[in-house]
């Protein structure tokens, strides 16, 4: 899928990623095409092993594709020099790795960690306070990771990715170790960065996250199985027997005609059964 739109900042064409091991080759991504525009939060969902982390690692310019073309913020990840990609990651990409609670510098205080990253991105001091406040760690700025809980450490990792508002934020399951309140807080922060003009791509299994996405990509066996716009609302009718009639565009989201209904306070959510895993 050739990308011609000038607004597109990240594009993938026939993206392939193959991992080799002693037991053979694993095809993590099999010809994936994708275009991401600034100002949107995209959630990548899918079962374990579907290629989410591989895709995010590539989008974060931390690996090169085995085949296909990947352009991130104007750089061809496959062809750019190591130094060029390193500069890209250093200044323009915020990355939150999987199990990010341990992806912080253990010997630095929270504020120092952000200060270090901010210095590379040319961010102002206010940005540090803002980033820490955004993830609810304003009162923990002087603590080292050893004094923070696992969830706080994960939020610190997110704050490090957000500081200086990089052009691209990639987060691999950034709310995996968080309770609902903090997960919402982190999502708010990510959405705010997206609203400010950054591209935000995250992976998640959590429907509380996916339903807040501007765009939801579902991966299966290394290819996009579906793509939908997030946070859509549509009118539906519940008949006298309690049956819910979905409009056709939403009905397409349930190809096997099975649905899981979740009630949470005043809210009722519908999702496909596969998300249970």
């Amino acid at each position: 899928m050739p990308v011609t739109d000038a607004r597109v900042a990240v594009s993938c064409e026939d993206l392939v990623k193959v991992f080799r091991s002693a037991t053979g080759e694993t095809h993590a991504l099999r010809g994936l095409g994708l275009a991401l525009e600034p100002g949107a939060l995209t959630v990548v969902a899918g079962p374990s092993g579907s290629g989410k982390s591989s895709l995010l690692t590539l989008l974060g310019a931390r690996d090169r594709p085995s085949a296909g073309r990947l352009t991130v913020l104007g750089s061809d990840v496959g062809g750019a020099s190591t130094g060029e990609l390193r500069r890209l990651r250093r200044r323009r990409i915020g990355f939150v790795p999987q199990r990010s609670s341990s992806a912080v510098f253990p010997h630095l205080r929270a504020a120092d960690q952000l200060g270090q990253v901010a210095s590379w991105r040319g961010a102002a001091r206010d940005d540090l306070d803002e980033a820490l406040a955004a993830v609810g760690l304003a009162d923990r700025a002087g603590h080292r990771p050893e004094a923070l809980s696992g969830g706080e450490q994960q939020r610190l990792a997110v704050a490090m990715a957000l500081v200086g508002r990089p052009a691209l934020v990639v987060a691999d399951e950034p709310t995996a170790e968080l309770d609902h309140a903090n997960a919402d807080r982190v999502m708010d922060a990510l959405l705010a960065v997206a609203a400010a003009g950054s591209i935000v791509v995250i992976s998640s299994h959590d429907d509380r996250i996916t339903h807040r996405a501007d765009r939801l990509l579902r991966l299966r066996h290394g290819v996009l199985s579906s793509e939908s716009a997030g946070r859509r609302t549509a009118a539906a009718v519940i008949d006298a027997t309690g049956r819910l009639q979905l409009p056709p565009e939403l009905l397409d989201l349930f190809p096997d005609r099975r649905v899981v209904v979740e009630a949470d306070g005043d809210e009722v959510r519908l999702r496909r059964p596969e998300a249970d895993r």
């Binding site: 090169r64 390193r86 250093r90 790795p97 992806a103 590379w120």
Partner: protein, 898 residues
């Protein structure tokens, strides 16, 4: 990050301690050879000076004596340079008349009587006697009494010539005082007890050399004035004592200055030359007497030999320590894998990481400078040439700083390379790229074979100092370990465990995990380290025993004293029998051994006393010869002989020995041995050992020392030497008591060890032992890491298994079994590697020119050491497993995920 880096290691004390220990070991390994060689030089110098300390001035004494034989107008041009001589004390001047002979007698005369008295001056003598000025003469009360004079009376001093009539050459002075002589001495009692008084030059009566002529003690001006006028032959001596704590550098400087002093005496442009040329009664000649040039030169030679011999082991130690440091830093990096993903994601450049690592390691490296010096000092004190003291000078500190800098560089480069390797961007994973795998195992075996061939084809004499010799044990241990570990893995994969299901041993046999490669790698490290440790034990023992063997071959016994005439012409009992209990007499000369051996040393010994006095080495290799000694008196077709050294003759052979082609004695070879006590005293490819009593019956009368009229000057006469295990002083004292002359040449085992590089070999053996301690520590550390890694691997499964019913103790025992399997495999590999290295042609003999050859030597204790390590590691693994399993809370383990 930059500010936090230097203190980062302090926040993780365990890792900080590991890095500090590793870099300290590296610094110690860098600085230890320098300290070792310096200590060797100091020790060799002190050992060289010790025998002559307090003894007569001469070749064996480091003290300096300058003599000149004339009265000079101004003594300053001679004495002032001596006073400025480094390493020596102030010169003490003695002046004495040495003109007495059978016809010239120095006398004091008064009242018509004369009494022997020779002019004598010594710095400080008159003040010690109580004199207030230099005027007059001090005579002994006996001399004054013989002359009938008292203090203040006139007295004449001078020479009386009795050749062809009596001629007196006397000058008058006054008796300034009298003194009582010390018992058995002509020195005043006030002087006899002063330090070095026994070394002062005193005038001996030429007719009776043991008798000292009575002294006429005068001031120097009186001596200078009187000596030429009374036709006395003046001799001036300036004695300088060497500083007992002299360093080799100071000794070398002193030798240079002494040589320069001697040259100046013959340099016409110097004031000294002019003074000596104008001396009375005739131009004077300067003599320099000191053994320091020879002793300092020997010390330097010994130190050089030590450096050469220690060199390969020093390099080995440095490489080992560097590997340890790199391994410690790599392990630290592995513990920060998650952080490395973070820094890669944040785009940190490898060069930044390199500098950060350098900053982080900097405090440890700075601390390692004093710590490394201290460790090296302790090591050299423990295993080095002496425990008298190890110098720590500027060179050592600079070397330590260089070592720390290299350590810092190693850490930085390791980090930089690791950063490049972990930077996934540098591993382009394009489709179709071929996988390359290096056959490391095969490569190791091939390299080992090539190095072994290279080393073993080098001449035996140079093999020990060939650089590749250091690498050979490591490669052999590595290859054998690899083969054994693979073989054990192959066997275990095909053999079903017989242990009961559910037991710790059954669990251990079934456990496989993510750290399998790490287990193999750590097992290999333990195996190589233990293999090297076992080999080091055999090498150290072999070197020690080899030095003892070679010393025995070179010296024969502790002390040998040549007795020129004492045992001749006095019958068989004196010539053959020992002069004292605990001694034996050995007669030597060179003979011919057909068909083409000439100049073959012959040792004629007394079989009844020789074996008890001779030194038979440390390994037992010389015991073959010892067993043959009682057979020397046997009656056979020829004179029974033992041949020591390389010869084509074999036991049972018959031949002849030629005494200068005049006499041929048929001999019967009892046996051929590689070396025999004293067989290397005189260089030769082979030494013939015979029973002296039987030999004397066969030789012609002119060669028979028992024969009346036999002297050492007879053509072809044998030389007699007393052998004893006593010290030189004790032997001399006992021989003197038995009326045997003790002025013959003395040679000791200690001198033989120093002069032939054997002392350096002993010191190198000590260095090897220190190296062994390091590899043992490495083996223990690797075993400990193995136990820790297995415990880490089982963090989650332990929780699960406990919930399945396993007890903590059982899980700990299962891991102890695993460690036990791994270390037992390592021990087997270590034993095999040591056996291969011990059975291979020797490569540890740095003094192969002196037989017998030095080999690594095994003992049962070597195996016990390895088994001890196995037991210790299993115990440690069990303790660690128990502690860690109990300490980890199940909820925390499961929450952490990995």
């Amino acid at each position: 990050m930059w500010w936090a880096a230097p203190l980062r290691l302090a926040r993780t004390p365990g890792w900080g301690a590991l890095v500090l220990v590793a870099v300290t070991l590296f610094v110690a390994s860098v600085v230890a050879p320098t300290m070792f060689v310096q200590t060797a030089r100091v020790t060799a110098l002190r050992d060289g000076l010790a025998p002559g300390a307090g003894g007569p001035y001469g070749d064996q004494s480091g003290d300096l004596r300058i003599t000149w034989d004339g009265v000079v107008e101004d003594i300053a041009p001679i004495v002032d340079p001596l006073a400025a001589m480094p390493a020596y004390g102030a010169p003490v001047v003695t002046a004495v008349g040495v003109g007495q002979s059978q016809t010239n007698k120095p006398v004091a005369a008064a009242n018509g009587a004369t009494s022997p008295a020779v002019l004598w001056y010594h710095d400080g003598a008159l003040p010690a006697l109580g004199a207030t000025d230099d005027e007059g003469v001090w005579l002994s009360t006996a001399t004054a009494g013989a002359l009938g004079i008292g203090v203040g009376d006139p007295v004449k001093l001078g020479m009386v010539q009795t050749f062809l009539g009596t001629k007196r050459m006397l000058r008058q002075t006054v008796l300034a005082g009298t003194f009582d002589t010390a018992p058995g001495s002509q020195l005043p009692t006030q002087l006899a007890g002063l330090p070095d008084a026994d070394r002062w030059f005193l005038p001996h009566d030429p007719v009776r050399p043991a008798v000292v002529t009575p002294l006429a003690i005068v001031g120097r001006h009186t001596f200078d004035r009187f000596a030429p006028k009374v036709r006395e032959s003046p001799l001036y001596l300036a004695d300088l004592r060497l500083d007992p704590d002299v360093t080799p550098d100071e000794a070398s400087a002193a030798v240079e200055r002494t040589a320069a002093f001697g040259n100046a005496a013959f340099d016409g442009t110097t004031d000294m030359f002019r003074e000596l040329a104008d001396a009375e009664p005739a131009p004077a000649k300067v003599d320099v007497i000191s053994g320091l040039p020879v002793i300092a030169g020997a010390a330097d030679t010994t130190a050089t030999s030590a450096r050469t011999q220690v060199g390969p082991y020093a390099v080995g130690g440095q490489v080992l320590a560097a590997l340890l440091l790199v391994a410690a830093w790599v392990l630290l990096g592995l513990s920060r894998r998650r952080e490395q993903v973070l820094v890669s994601g944040l785009g940190l450049r490898p060069v930044e990481l390199t500098l950060l690592a350098a900053l982080e390691a900097l405090p440890a490296c700075l601390l390692a400078v004093p710590a490394g010096v201290l460790l090296a000092r302790l090591g050299v004190l423990w295993a080095g040439p002496t425990d008298a003291g190890v110098p720590v000078d500027r060179d050592v500190v600079v070397r330590a700083a260089e070592g720390a800098a290299i350590g810092l560089l190693l850490v930085a480069v390791t980090t930089g390379l690791a950063a490049l390797a972990t930077d996934r961007l540098d591993r382009v994973s394009r489709l179709g790229r071929a996988r390359t795998s290096v056959p490391w195992g095969t490569a190791l075996v091939v390299v080992t074979a090539v190095v072994a061939f290279s080393v073993l084809t080098v001449d035996t004499a140079r093999r020990a100092v060939t650089p590749l010799t250091t690498a050979l044990p490591v490669l052999v241990a590595g290859s054998v370990s690899m083969v054994v570990i693979r073989a054990v893995a192959w066997v275990r994969a095909r053999r079903r465990t017989r242990s009961r299901p559910g037991t710790p041993r059954w669990l251990a046999a079934r456990r496989t995990g993510q750290v399998a490669r790490e287990v193999v790698a750590l097992s290999a490290v333990v195996a190589v380290a233990l293999g090297l440790f076992a080999y080091v034990l055999t090498v150290e023992r072999g070197v020690d025993e080899g030095v003892a063997d070679k010393t025995a071959a070179l010296a024969g016994t502790a002390t040998r004293l040549e007795v020129v005439e004492g045992f001749r012409a006095r019958g068989a009992d004196v010539a053959v029998g020992p002069p004292l209990a605990g001694t034996t007499v050995v007669w030597t000369r060179n003979v011919g051994l057909p068909p083409d051996e000439t100049g073959v040393p012959l040792m004629a010994i007394d079989p009844t006393t020789f074996a008890g006095v001779a030194d038979w080495g440390g390994s037992g290799d010389l015991d073959v010869g010892r067993a043959l000694v009682p057979r020397l008196p046997e009656h056979a077709r020829g004179l029974p002989v033992i041949l020591a050294g390389d010869t084509d003759l074999a036991a049972g052979a018959t031949t002849v020995i030629d005494f200068d082609t005049v006499l041929s004695v048929p001999v019967h070879v009892l046996g051929v041995v590689p070396a025999f006590p004293g067989s290397e005293i005189d260089p030769g490819t082979v030494t013939v050992v015979v029973d002296s009593r039987r030999l004397f019956k066969l030789v012609t009368p002119d060669l028979d020392p028992r024969h009346r009229g036999a002297t050492s000057k007879d053509p072809g006469a044998l030389t007699s030497t007393v052998w004893s295990r006593e010290s030189v002083a004790d032997l001399r004292a006992r021989l003197a008591g038995a009326d045997v002359a003790t002025d013959g040449v003395v040679e000791t085992a200690a001198e033989a060890r120093i002069g032939n590089g054997l002392v350096a070999s002993t010191w190198a053996g000590g260095y090897v032992l220190a190296l062994g301690a390091v590899v043992l520590a490495l083996a223990l550390a690797a075993g400990l890491v193995l136990a820790l890694r297995l415990a880490d691997r089982d963090t989650v499964s332990d929780v699960v298994l406990r919930r399945m019913g396993y007890r903590s103790g059982e899980l700990a025992r299962a891991r102890a079994w695993e460690v036990g399997y791994a270390v037992a495999t390592a021990v087997v590999a270590a034993v095999l590697a040591a056996v291969v290295l011990v059975l291979a042609p020797t490569s540890i003999d740095a003094t192969a020119g002196v037989p017998p050859l030095t080999h690594p030597r095994t003992e049962l204790t070597d195996l016990l050491w390895l088994l001890g390590v196995l037991a210790a590691l299993v115990l440690l693994a069990w303790l660690l497993g128990t502690l860690l399993t109990r300490r980890r809370a199940a909820a925390e383990v499961l929450r952490a995920g990995d």
